[in-house]
């Protein structure tokens, strides 16, 4: 815009008028909050600057790919032998593995490219296909039952539908309580109670999905257009009829979208749930991690990634159709 279009150009606003002061204060407040929040967390920037961290991280990443780590030893011939008398003292009470590692004074590390990587990992994919499908089935069943139970509770957790305020508060508190329990803890407790396998995983996912959908859906319900509800009340409709004719059509697309979203989250969550014995591919992943079979870990991560990408694609397509 040129000056000529504004015949009476007002004088340049002062620093205070232009909001500059406010922005400066906002920036200062941000720095203050950041400083206070990071205190006593033991965050040491130096740790990231040191080469050690990066070496360890890249080591892990490389070993998740088609490489195997080889450590050469200066004194390889005594690796499996008895330790020297002079070095024995510090190892007392430790396992043989510790001895071996300590004896093997590391000379050089290099990574060996496994030319049979693809063949080996394709064979492995066949092995994990079963647990993977179990994970998917667990997620589907968990999300289904979660969504089923979430519907009535989300109605009771929506302020605009609940006649008595205390009902709303009680349901909200219960939902918050359930959401506060970490899914991992839930699965650990359930696998203790129900035994190892898919069942505790499914139940944990159902509870987790229930709390998530109930929360999201109740908030959608609270933001619906109140007009149709008023019109139905004026027609003499009862509460259930109002829900069926005024609420359901308005929130159905969101509900289905949340359902699909939760299904996606459940696939991700169920991989972790396997860690505590709740079935699925997580149990396989845990075993591979414990046995430091990092190539297998890498393959499982890739497989889960592919699965999640496919599900995200489907969920985006379905949501586009619905809204």
């Amino acid at each position: 815009m040129t000056d000529s279009s504004k015949p009476k150009s007002p004088k340049k606003p002062s620093f205070k008028e232009s909001g500059g002061l406010k922005s400066m204060l906002g920036l200062l407040a941000l720095i203050l909050v950041y400083t206070l929040a990071s205190a006593h967390l033991g965050i040491e920037p130096a740790k990231f600057a040191s080469g050690e961290t990066w070496v360890q991280m890249s080591d892990l990443l490389i070993r998740m790919g088609p490489y195997e780590r080889i450590n050469t030893c200066k004194n390889a011939n005594i690796v499996w032998g008895e330790p020297d008398a002079e070095t024995e003292a510090p190892w007392s009470g430790r396992t043989d593995m510790d001895k071996v590692r300590a004896v093997c004074e590391q000379d050089k590390t290099f990574y060996w490219y496994r030319s049979d990587y693809l063949k080996e990992q394709l064979a492995y994919t066949k092995d994990v296909w079963g647990p993977l499908m179990q994970t998917l089935r667990m997620a589907i069943i968990g999300a289904f039952f979660g969504a089923l139970f979430a519907v009535p509770f989300s109605l009771l957790a929506a302020r605009n539908l609940v006649r008595y305020q205390w009902v709303y508060y009680v349901v909200r508190i219960v939902l918050n309580l359930i959401r506060t329990i970490p899914d991992l803890v839930l699965a650990a407790v359930l696998s203790g109670a129900l035994g190892l396998g898919a069942l505790p995983g499914v139940v944990a996912l159902a509870i987790f999905s229930f709390a998530l959908i109930a929360k999201l859906l109740s908030e959608s319900i609270e933001s619906i257009d109140p007009g149709p509800l008023e019109a139905m009340r004026a027609c003499g409709a009862n509460w259930l009829q109002m829900v069926a004719y005024g609420v359901v059509p308005q929130v159905l697309p969101q509900f289905l979208a949340y359902w699909i979203y939760v299904l996606e989250v459940d696939v991700r969550a169920s991989t972790v749930l396997g860690f505590v014995g709740a079935g699925g591919i997580g149990m396989t992943l845990m075993a591979d991690l414990n046995l430091t079979r990092f190539r297998n870990v890498g393959s499982i991560v890739m497989i889960i990634l592919v699965l999640v990408v496919i599900m995200e694609y489907i969920s985006t397509k379905v949501r586009e159709r619905l809204v």
Partner: protein, 257 residues
């Protein structure tokens, strides 16, 4: 006959929306309530079906006190009172037919309505109602595909579908353009004449009030300041009701034909 006796309404924030309103509406009358926004028009007509609970006073209809009705009785009473709104209040994602059938909810059992099992007579009545307001060709369209005037007609059809004895209309034309406004008012008037449905309409357009009303009630600050037949009303009367000079935006204008 509908009789308001000393109806008062004080909202929780202390606003006195209605102050001791006494009013008798005769059967089959077409009454237009005029007044500035905030005068208590909406509150007054919402007291009839108790979408707003009056703080004190009684409303008598067919020898019964509406304000003392319990839940079930109130729902039964509401089925006799059709209502149309400024924003149509249709479920936009539902079909026109389903919106109109919602008017039958009060007459339909809960289980049947949840399953969508309306009787054949109800469906026929819904379709007939749509015909009467002239949009039967839109029966299966989604409500949000319709223009504002068409949506308001769907909401009239929904109210008609209830088989009401009283029709309430809260600013039914405020969101419409002048020609559509007149079409909607003519529909209301026609239904009032043909079915003998007592009609209460809130308006703030004085020319429309004069054109369609049998009787005009003027409200200001929660009180009835004028009550008389429409043909006796002059611009002077409106200036008294509004407490100021008449302005161009108090007129809808644009009578077609």
């Amino acid at each position: 006959m509908l009789e308001f006796r000393q109806i008062s309404k004080t909202f929780p924030d202390g606003t006195k929306a209605l102050k001791d309103v006494n009013l008798t509406i005769n059967k089959g009358e077409f009454v237009v309530i005029v007044g500035l926004s905030g005068a208590g028009k909406s509150t007054l007509i919402r007291c009839v079906n108790r979408l707003v609970e009056p703080t004190s006073g009684t409303i008598w209809a067919n020898g019964r006190d509406v304000t003392k009705m319990g839940d079930a009785d109130l729902r039964r009473w509401r089925t006799q009172v059709g209502m149309i709104f400024q924003n149509y209040n249709l479920v936009k994602r539902s079909s026109v037919l389903r919106n109109v059938l919602a008017g039958r909810l009060g007459h339909t059992g809960t289980l049947r309505s949840l399953l969508g099992l309306f009787s054949a007579e109800d469906v026929a009545l819904a379709k007939r109602s749509l015909e009467r307001v002239g949009i039967s060709e839109k029966t299966y369209n989604r409500a949000d595909q319709l223009s504002g005037g068409q949506q308001q007609r769907v909401s009239i059809a929904r109210a008609l579908c209830q088989g009401p004895s009283i029709m309430l209309a809260d600013e039914p034309v405020a969101s419409l353009d002048p020609p559509t406004s007149h079409a909607v008012m003519r529909d209301l008037k026609r239904i009032n004449r043909e079915d003998g449905i007592t009609t209460l309409v809130n308006l703030h357009f004085i020319d429309m009030a004069q054109e369609y009303a049998d009787r005009i009630i003027g409200m200001r600050a929660g009180e009835i300041v004028y009550d008389g037949p429409a043909d006796k009303v002059t611009e002077q009367t409106f200036e008294e009701i509004y407490g100021r000079k008449i302005r161009p935006d108090d007129l809808r204008g644009g009578v077609e034909e």
